[in-house]
């Protein structure tokens, strides 16, 4: 059955083709729904069957991967490798099933399907209903290519495909001013990272003569010295490629310094924020780093960089999230922060923890986003938390599921976020006390801003207009049912990774173990049991402290006063956080303006004077001037010609004699 794996990405792509091209504007919303949901549901079904049959197969038990090559996609011919030998480079359209892609496949198809269902209710009154579902299906197809590809190029096609869909869906409300701008910003920032990604791919192709995961990673595992030698700029080959790929990941997964697009990406419809900008697409960078763990384990320095960047992003975004008032912005910065956590895990070598957190995060963050979408839906498009409040009476289902999601992300046991975050913190402790401490503080901040979000939205008095109060309603069941399913996921997915000392088997760690290459040093630190208890205690205390702090400030009926009091006590800090550290302004002032000035200078001097002036107009002028001079000799008088002839003859004689 696994042979049908290619259907998984193809079905949503067909759905996108049908809704976007073939039946565009020719069917009712109901028809568009049938196509979009049908293709996604079928894809989910095929995926589940494929996973099940892979897990039941002999290959899985033997620790092997399943690969299905559909056709030779780019038979590129002979390539001279960097060691001088020649190899036939052929890139296949191939799919791969191993424990890692099984986890990703399940998360993407399952969460993706739920968000499709949710969107039916959320987008019901939107003019672009069919267009929306065409884009969403296209996204599913690209994302599934990304996680299923058996080589870097198929991954890259999916990588770019999801970037395109992200652009299309952020700018979905193209009649307004801001969403198209945010879409362009996302696309351009991603391109910066993609450039480095491509450089990394070229380096890999030149070294290995292949882009297949199996070929490259088994070659590295077989002989790590292949990639540890000096390569470029004093870096080893592994470091160089790992750095290039990581720069790509910082773009896609919104890490410092390329995280600026993600908060603006909230301009798209809320289910899109849930699916693309929280649960799946932005985690592609984490997936890619874990997939390439053989390289990262050997990339001295770069893994540390990954951990530091992840850790810095985590606390940086968490502090910004404390001061934002737009409900989706808070969740966006929370996403950036949690992605930082995943990179922290990947950087310290806790790859399975990174994927574990990716999976749990997909559930509770999708839940939180969809919950916020339900709130926004009920308020007729209002996103400012200062105009919410007291909604728990009006939106009971949304309130309950949202709290489950918030508690899960805050890291309160026994919900999902607790286990995955605890694994990451334990891994960070084994690598560096400082990383652990920053991670711990971030955990506290996470709990604090999530509790703040809940208090500001669902508690206290309603602060919106009378008209909004009148229209307050719980969302339709197509929206609340996915919320409950995701809430169930946010509760139980953590159980997959109960650590051994709590009586669990760390199932996810063992499940993913075959994916982690056995090269170089063993990064897995097995701490003492008492230490694990202490670390876990710290994490819980941090989370509880965060929640209590939020409760003191925003809890009960305090409304906005508590927050205003804090802002009044530390005006500078408050301005810094509300201004998001002015990173956007900094980029605008120094990067964009500089580049624009450079481009403008190039246009004026190189293009204007050199290309246009010297090359184009200069050549024309030279030709014209020569012609003008020479025309005086063509008098039309035969005797003059005879004279030239004679002179020429004499010149020839003079030259010859």
């Amino acid at each position: 059955m696994s042979d049908w794996i290619w259907l998984v990405p193809v079905l949503p792509l067909l759905g996108a083709l049908t809704n976007g091209v073939l039946l565009r504007g020719r069917v009712s919303n109901r028809g568009a729904t049938a196509v979009a949901l049908g293709s996604t549901a079928l894809s989910l079904g095929v995926a589940l069957v494929a996973i099940a049959s892979y897990l039941g197969s002999e290959a899985y038990k033997a620790g092997e991967v399943f690969e299905k090559v559909v056709y030779a996609w780019i038979p590129a011919g002979t390539l001279q490798l960097s060691d001088g030998s020649f190899q036939n480079l052929s890139i296949e359209m191939g799919f791969r099933l191993d424990p890692l892609s099984c986890v990703m496949l399940f998360v993407v198809t399952f969460v993706g399907f739920l968000i499709h269902v949710y969107s039916v209710g959320y987008m019901a009154h939107d003019d672009g209903y069919q267009r929306y579902f065409a884009y969403l299906n296209l996204f599913m197809g690209a994302m599934l290519l990304l996680v299923l590809g058996n080589n870097f190029l198929v991954l890259f096609v999916g990588w770019e495909g999801v970037g395109l869909c992200s652009y299309l869906l952020i700018g979905f409300y193209f009649k307004e001013t801001f969403p198209p701008y945010a879409g362009r910003k996302a696309f351009i920032v991603n391109r910066i990272g993609d450039f480095a990604f491509l450089v990394g791919l070229f380096a890999l192709a030149e070294r290995f003569g292949s882009l297949g995961f199996t070929e490259i990673f088994s070659a590295i595992e077989h002989d790590p010295s292949l990639v540890t030698g000096e390569y470029l700029l004093g870096m080893s080959f592994a470091s160089f490629v790992a750095l290039c790929l990581f720069i790509g990941a910082t773009g896609k997964s919104a890490q410092i310094p390329l995280f600026v697009w993600l908060p603006d990406a909230m301009a798209g419809p809320t289910p899109v924020s849930a699916l693309i900008h929280a649960a799946t697409m932005v985690t592609a960078g984490v997936y890619m780093v874990v997939r390439s763990n053989a390289l990262y384990q050997l990339a001295g320095g770069v893994s540390e960089l990954v951990a530091i960047v992840g850790c810095a992003t985590a606390i940086f975004a968490a502090t910004i999230g404390l001061a934002q008032t737009d409900i989706k912005k808070v969740l966006a910065y929370s996403t950036v922060s949690q992605l930082g956590y995943m990179f922290l895990a990947a950087g310290v070598g806790a790859y399975s923890s990174a994927i574990f957190h990716l999976g749990t995060h997909a559930f509770f963050k999708a839940l939180l986003f969809l919950g916020s979408g339900s709130v926004i839906h009920a308020l007729g498009g209002e996103q400012d938390m200062r105009k919410m409040g007291g909604l728990r009476k009006h939106l009971p289902s949304t309130y309950k599921t949202f709290v489950i999601g918030a508690v899960a992300i805050a890291g309160i046991p026994p919900l999902a976020g607790f286990f995955s975050k605890d694994q990451i913190l334990a891994g960070a402790w084994g690598s560096s006390r400082l990383l652990w401490f920053v991670g711990l503080v971030t955990a506290g901040l996470t709990a604090c801003y999530m509790a703040r979000l809940v208090y500001m939205t669902f508690y206290g008095e309603f602060r919106g207009t009378e008209e909004q109060r009148h229209h307050l309603h719980e969302s339709p069941s197509s929206m609340t049912v996915p919320l409950w399913i995701l809430a169930a996921g946010a509760v139980v997915t953590g159980l997959l990774g109960i650590p051994a000392f709590l009586g669990g088997g760390d199932w996810i760690g063992h499940f993913l173990a075959p994916v982690i290459a056995q090269v170089g040093t063993d990064h897995a630190h097995h701490a003492e049991v008492w230490l694990e208890w202490v670390l876990m205690g710290f994490a819980v205390v941090a989370a509880v402290l965060g929640i209590l702090m939020a409760r003191r400030t925003w809890g009960g009926d305090r409304g906005l006063e508590g927050g205003a009091a804090w802002a009044g006590r530390f005006p500078a800090v408050h301005r810094l956080l509300v201004g998001k550290y002015w990173v956007d302004e900094f980029y605008d002032r120094w990067v964009i303006k500089t580049l624009a000035a450079l481009a403008n200078g190039l246009r004026r001097f190189v293009d204007g004077y050199l290309i246009d002036g010297v090359f184009v107009h200069g050549t024309a002028f030279l030709t014209e001037m020569t012609g003008d001079l020479l025309r005086f000799t063509t008098t039309g008088n035969v005797r003059n010609y005879a004279l030239y002839f004679l002179l020429g003859l004499l010149l020839m004689f003079w030259w010859m004699l």
């Binding site: 008088n637 005797r639 004679l646």
Partner: protein, 102 residues
């Protein structure tokens, strides 16, 4: 008595050739120009024959017969053009034909 050597022939040929060239370049009447061309050609013929005689090789003389043949053709075509030009503008002044000036 003065013996006539190849050098004398060459000198005569040179004089004829130069007169012909000057005629081509300086005269305005097309008929004169054509006649000057004949002079140049015949100066060449003279050269051919002089060397043929000196070297005892008949090739040069045969070649000069070819030249005379071609010259006859050239004169016929040239005179034909001349007649056409005369019909067109009632003059054989060569300077009048300047339509091709750049």
């Amino acid at each position: 008595m003065l013996e006539i050597t190849t050098t004398h022939y060459l000198a005569l040929s040179f004089v004829l050739f130069t007169i012909g060239l000057i005629g081509i370049v300086s005269r305005r009447n097309m008929i004169t120009v054509l006649m000057s061309i004949e002079l140049v050609l015949n100066a060449v013929n003279l050269n051919f024959i002089a060397f043929s005689y000196q070297l005892g090789d008949l090739t040069g003389q045969i070649f000069s017969i070819f030249v005379i043949t071609v010259a006859a053709g050239e004169a016929a075509v040239g005179l034909g053009i001349l007649v056409a030009v005369f019909r067109l503008r009632g003059s054989t002044e060569i300077d009048r034909a300047q339509e091709m000036s750049g």
